[in-house]
Every structure is written in C-alpha cells, then in structure tokens.
Subunit: 219 residues, 2 copies
C-alpha cells in the first residue's frame, strides 16, 4: 500500500501534518495562509507543500494563498475524516493509561471509548472513565460499536497474537506501539509508533560523544 491512486504514501503521510498546522493557524484566528508560511512552520519547503497538494487539485490562488477553512475541509475529506472513527485501546498498562487520558482524539476525528486487556484482574477497572473489558469481548463489541481501528499497547511478546485477534474482530487499522513488526492481511493497515526508532533516526545527525570529547581536548 505504498502507492494509492498513484499518490505516494509519503505524500499522504504529510497531509495530517498540514491538517494539524492549519488547525493551529485557524485556532490562532488566521483565515488565510501561504505555502511559504506553512513551510516555515513545518520545516518543509513551500515547493514540497504545493507539489503535495497539487496531487488533489487546486486549493490556492497565485498571490492570495490558501483559504484555511476551505483547505481544512478538503484535507478532512481526502483523509476520510468527515465521519468519526471508533478506536479501541488494547492493553491497560502504563501506555494504555496514557492513551486513555490523551485529550487530542475527539477533536480530530476519533472516538476512543473502549479499552481491552487480556488480564482478568484488570476487567472492570476504570481508565479515565473507560471501563476495561476482557479481550474475549473484543469481537462482539467491535461489531456492535463499529470499532474499526485499534491502538496496540501490549508487550512485544503478545503483539502478533493480539494482532491476530484484532484482525479476526474486523479491525482494519492498527497503530502498533510494540517494537516489533506484525503480519496482517493486505486489507489491514498497520503503522508503528516506536520512540527508539525515532531517536535512532535523530542520532544519525548528532555529533557522537567521542567527537565532542576530541573537540573539547583540542580547545
């Protein structure tokens, strides 16, 4: 699924970032912006932004830039955010707890109202008002409540087995927090959230300590 309708996945991946920046601009009272302003805020070139958006149509006018509300509306439509998506948290540990308390879901298109765990002792406990259900209930609840997405916050060793349960329950998109790649059928989307992967990406650009020490000793 790296290319859909000929549009590279990396372009799709930047649209939610544009959506977020435009939402922040709108909240600060702005009604218009430009690819230059957006680019400056995001550390992306204005040419890249114009090229990304041009895949989907003509959203701005030469000289006057973008109407923020119109562009927000278009981006929401492109990303299928005109409906509310229902999302389950899988795993009632520290991370599940943090996700259950995260404030940013409902205003951005997601209803997060279900938490599942495999541990019977967790069942019935409350996480930010949400009652933990046993994972055995997932399939029935997902069907009843039309839950299509899941945040997978379980230990690495359980990630594949629980992913299989999610797939069986009809979940179509999984954000996996366990640092392991899981296998899913072709019609199920998986993305990964791993702080270490992101930190290792950054250390590439950092000056190693040995160099720092060498530099200091030359002073």
């Amino acid at each position: 699924m790296s290319i859909a309708n000929g549009i590279p996945d990396i372009v799709i991946g930047r649209l939610p970032v544009y959506l977020r920046a435009l939402t922040n601009l709108a909240q600060s009272g702005k009604t218009n912006t430009s690819s230059h302003e957006l680019g400056r805020r995001l550390g992306i070139s204005s040419a890249q932004i114009r090229k990304d958006l041009s895949h989907f149509g003509e959203f701005g006018k030469q000289g006057t830039g973008y109407n923020i509300n119109y562009l927000l509306e278009q981006l929401r439509a492109i990303l299928n955010l005109e409906q509310e998506w229902r999302v389950a948290i899988i795993g009632a540990g520290y991370l599940g707890h943090a996700l259950a308390h995260y404030q940013g879901f409902s205003s951005r298109g997601f209803r997060m109202a279900w938490v599942f765990d495999i541990d019977h002792e967790m069942v019935g406990k409350k996480m930010n008002g949400l009652s933990v259900q046993h994972i055995d209930q997932l399939k029935e609840t997902a069907k009843q409540e039309n839950i299509q997405m899941a945040l997978l916050a379980v230990p690495t060793t359980a990630a594949q087995a629980v992913t299989d349960l999610l797939v069986d329950a009809g979940i179509k998109a999984i954000l996996n927090y366990a640092p392991i790649n899981v296998e899913v059928p072709a019609d199920v989307e998986v993305r990964y959230s791993d702080p270490v992967v992101q930190m290792q990406h950054m250390t590439y650009y950092l000056k190693p300590e040995l160099e720092v020490l060498a530099t200091l000793s030359r002073d």
Copy 2:
C-alpha cells in the same frame, strides 16, 4: 536537514527499522538473512532495502545474503549508536509515566534516567525509580550528566516554551509528543510522535462508514 551527505532523510529513517528487524532475527537465533526475508517481514520491497543499504557500502553477497551480526554492527555505527545516548523525559504526567516505564530504551542505545517537570508538587516523586526534578534544574543537570536528547511530554500550550528551555540547556534532539510544531535552531533535531497524525494517515486507506453502510444496504 532532509538530506545529509546526499542521503535522503527517508532512507536514514528506515535504517532504525532495519536495525530493529535484524535484532529480532538475531534474537530468534538466525545468523544470516536476505533482503527478501527482511522485506517480507517489513512490508518493504527487497529492491528498496538493497538500494537503501547501498548508500553506505556493500553489506551482502550475491546469493548468500547478509551476515546479521555484521550488518547490525554497521547500522549501529552509521546511526551513531556505538555510544549510549542520555535522554531526559520532560513532563511527569501520564505519558511521562508510561515513558519512564518503557523497557525498550537501554538495550537499544539510550539511557533514560532523568525526569523533569514544571510543577513543584511533582518534584521528588518517583517514576519507575526515577526522581522527578524541577525543570529549573535541567540546564545544570544536562551539562553535568551530558544529556543530549529529550522526550517532550508536556501539554501543547507549554511545548514551545519548554522547547526553548531544552535548547538553552544544550539539548540537541527532541522527540515532541505534543501535537504542535515547535521552532528550534538549525543544529537541533526535532521529530514528532502524534498518534492522531498516524491514524489520519491510515484512514486515507480505509473505506468510509457511509460507503460501508451503502454496501451493506445493497446486500
């Protein structure tokens, strides 16, 4: 910083994913692998993997594939992971708590031994054995302990102000969990972790509910 030494940032971003998959393969007792096996595990084409690695040298042999330990060693060197990087958690809320309990840092090159918060009432409290310090202590502690990276787990409204403190304290890489873009000098790396951005990326590929309902009513 999207291109360093002519190597696209997106290629750099895949190296930690390869590193993770290779580590999992090694832990399962394997000593050799191929771009095909890696690609199958990661949902990336084998050609892409070979092309990515070719930026850095010749790591495999036609026919015999890659020696896993050798490739792991090379990737760690490329990503500056031959040293341990010291990382502070900023924000002792639910997310900071989850990060302090995350098991995967130390085995993958990061020492996570400091937590800071702006709330004086949090100071001295323990999070997984780590004592919360006041953010006023950050600059001194960062210098003493050679902390160069931070996980920013503070509310959106505080993110830029706290980022400025991090930069002033000499932090060179920030993983920002607040859903807002922050401004930093050119020599500071910032990456973002926002579950909503990742979920909105996935909804692009999902079938909207209205279509699902329409499909159902046609049955």
